[in-house]
Amino acid sequence: MRKGRYGAALAALAAVAVLLTACSTKKDSSVVERAKENNKLTIGVKFDQPGIGLKKPDGSVEGFDIDVATYIAKQLGVDAKNIAWKETRSVNRESFLQNGNVDLAVASYTINPNRKKKVGFAGPYYIAHQDIMVRSNDNSIQSFADLKGKRLCQVAGSNSWENITRGTNKLNQKQDVVLFPANSYDECMTKLRGKSVDVVSTDDVILAGFAARDPQNFKVVGAPFTDEKYGVGMKKGDKKSCEAVNMAIKKMYEDGSAQRFLEKNFGAAKFKYADTLPAFEPCS
């Protein structure tokens, strides 16, 4: 009797799981076609990265990714007012694209082989590099080698600290740092200001966004040691959209819009951004 009840509960669970997966199977046509048809796009962006993608208290969003996404949408025939912005975090970008919760993801989204197995990428539209941020009066750290023995902010759920401790960087060097756990890069800034940590390290554009907010206290060292190709995420196999987005990115650099977006978002941070079109990865 008891066992029978458990069996029924399991069967019910399985049924729910199957139903859930069945529900998410829809919308198979390509993003460009749907954008043209409905004049609507749902774009996944970061909501918590100043300079890249930040949601303001009044509900609007701003940042480099937002500007790029708006430009691309325009090229695909969707007006800025018809874009629905949705927050995508690092952990749910793949699922959101696969399930169709968002059409595109422009969310400081590094193209890598693991992710390519699950989703498609257009671009890159920018190549960021992991860099180092310190307090503005700290001159003891000028390069990657100077990190030895320093206290590094360790954000749970980000692989930036692993690039340093495991040597997954362009220099192929591991560095002995003292890890200081934190929940988010926002928290790291508080720790850096309060001298609990000496170094915050992640993509230079993210650091520049934070530095631009508070240039008196923070500076970006300018010692890049990884290449992070920021791509536009989409459903795997949507070659048509990938090519259309690539066209838009190319145009964005040719007509000077990209340079304008970079200056607008990172100009205040005294940070040397690259303003030329990166080489595209092949669409697949």
Binding site: V91, N99, K118, A156, F180, T190, S196, V197
Partner: protein, 233 residues
């Protein structure tokens, strides 16, 4: 959704085995934190309970205020105060090694919070001891501290072993927010794995099972103890 995708998100326990080292050290950190916080919370909670039933009104008021404040404040806020407030802003323990300051600040926050619950549990235990016991202790000439220590508390503890077990279980699960105080434990490890393999269902289940391996035996042990140590009246 194709079958591979479905398998990856719902049934693929592979990543769990691949990262077993990190997961083990994550849970080890959880155990270290729980063990120390449990001892300190028990000590502090007993002290608070004694204060709350003491004849000195200042002590009663102090303990009552402490319990009401800590018990009604979210744990995340208390731990954030310990980490971001005490250390990162006020500079308390800022020069200590992060593993040391993170650990002790998390222990401090967690045990300060749990002590309030231990105190209230123990106080309810004290209320189960018949008033005659206290009167008898007084009539043979024991002062307050001795009658509490020798007569009341031993009986009170034995009455609340099972509820104290619940408090301990809640505390073990509460360690999962210790990251905000700067302590890297099992849940932080899980978040880190999300970055590598995505937030898949097997990871959630795996970590839930990990916590249950810690909490289920705790519950059984305390249930058994409660039965064995029960005061027969």
């Amino acid at each position: 959704m194709d079958w591979n995708n479905f398998y990856d998100k719902l049934l693929n326990f592979g990543p769990f085995l691949e990262h077993s080292n990190e997961i083990w050290s994550g849970f080890l950190a959880t155990i270290r934190l729980s063990a120390m916080a449990a001892v300190l919370a028990l000590v502090l909670g007993t002290l608070l309970a004694a204060m709350r039933v003491s004849p000195v009104s200042v002590m009663r008021a102090t303990a009552t205020m402490y319990v009401n404040t800590l018990r009604n404040t979210p744990l995340t806020l208390i731990l954030l105060f310990c980490g971001l407030g005490l250390r990162d802003t006020l500079g308390f323990m800022a020069q200590a090694a992060p593993t040391v300051s993170g650990y002790w600040l998390a222990v401090a926050g967690l045990s300060a919070y749990t002590a309030a619950f231990v105190c209230e549990t123990l106080r309810s235990g004290i209320n189960t001891v018949p008033i005659g016991q206290a009167e008898a202790a007084r009539s043979v000439g024991l002062p307050f501290s001795q009658s509490l220590r020798l007569v009341i508390l031993p009986q009170a503890f034995r009455a609340v072993i099972a509820p104290l077990g619940s408090v301990l279980i809640a505390m073990i699960k509460n360690t999962s927010v210790a990251l905000v105080a700067g302590y890297f434990e099992a849940t932080a490890t899980m978040k880190q794995l999300f970055d590598d393999v995505g937030a898949t269902v097997p990871l959630f289940f795996g970590f839930a099972i990990g916590y249950m391996i810690l909490t289920l035996p705790t519950g059984l042990l305390f249930g058994w103890l409660a039965k064995r140590m029960a005061v027969t009246r």
